[in-house]
Symmetry: C2
Amino acid sequence: MPDIKHFDPQAALDTAVRLFWRQGAASTGIQDVVTATGLNRSSLYATFGGKQDLYLAALRRYVRTHSEPAFERLTQDGRGLPAVADFFAGLIEVRCSGEYARWGCMITNAHAARTENDDPEVLRLLDGHHQHLLGALHAALLSAQSRGQLPRDAELQCAAELLALLAYGVNLRSRSGADPEALYRTVTATLASLGAIAAAS
Amino acid sequence: MPDIKHFDPQAALDTAVRLFWRQGAASTGIQDVVTATGLNRSSLYATFGGKQDLYLAALRRYVRTHSEPAFERLTQDGRGLPAVADFFAGLIEVRCSGEYARWGCMITNAHAARTENDDPEVLRLLDGHHQHLLGALHAALLSAQSRGQLPRDAELQCAAELLALLAYGVNLRSRSGADPEALYRTVTATLASLGAIAAAS
DNA sequence: GCAATCTTGGAACGGTCGTTCCGAGATCCG
DNA sequence: CGGATCTCGGAACGACCGTTCCAAGATTGC
């Protein structure tokens, strides 16, 4: 009986992700989304609800399509430190060149845009993302340990936290035009001495 | 002949700093500034110009009153690694407790809020801030080296960059409620092994 | 083809945005 | 005290905000 949707909701959501990612939620109007997706206000509201719902859906989609695949790769990759090195190399490349150059990371940006009295669901999502990142790094460091790339008594938790914060720093500074080679040097130097970091904890 | 200002522009600017710092520029309306400062729209525009000028002035004032004193202390403090440790301890304390708890760093937030087509002066300010931070860290590491806390052949540049990115990460995560003790542990572990990092570069 | 049901187009809502303008008030110089 | 000059209070501007509403269009089951 009913009519059917005349557009692909996921494609529209991807467009919204790009807008929110590049400009932030506060600087992106519904009109921007309407213009970019080409579909109508009514369809937007009927499909995604209000702006906050749309932003939350965009955040979730970003995590699923951009963050988690990289985390999954890092978790599965059993090579240890080389896996971590590849993770950061890919991160820097995505942040500084290609379609998303200088956009930073949508989740990192959301950290800075977050306010005390906005949707607590956003905060939960940010924490979930952080835990996933920590978990993936920890898994990689565990592989490194079992392969003798790190001391047996290394405390991996602090090392994982350091790398996570370092990733946030890379995301943040890349948005303001940081030199990718300087970022790469810093990351490489850090990884080269990770054993000492982990042992010192 | 002329009338005189009936308010203290710097006090008003401090109020604006707090608003932009906590809520971000995009989410802060001129009306918010008017209400918080108690002065009139006309006085605001006559004194600071439009919103973008006000935001820029607020950024500059934040750097002068919040960032640079800490950078200066770090630069002057000749103790080496303990100076760096104190710098981070103070950073974590400010970010997680007291009046500005969970506000993050205004400059860090500005990194994430920045857009390609906004005032290039903002970008220059962010880069200047980054260079100041790098310089202060480098000076402290130089002291550490001269005191034998770091190897003589240590490459300090990468270590300073790592610490700067780590500081950004602390600022960012603190805004979303990161555990201060976990942050402290991570920073302490990193500093404890800084010698290895610097030598590996 | 008819009726039911959802989607779509587009106007319209009240509110807030950043900004401007002008009359009224306050202040200092001569 | 007089007059010049700036500040201050507050209304007003057009534009845009997120959101709602309704009629028109499209589709499916009978």
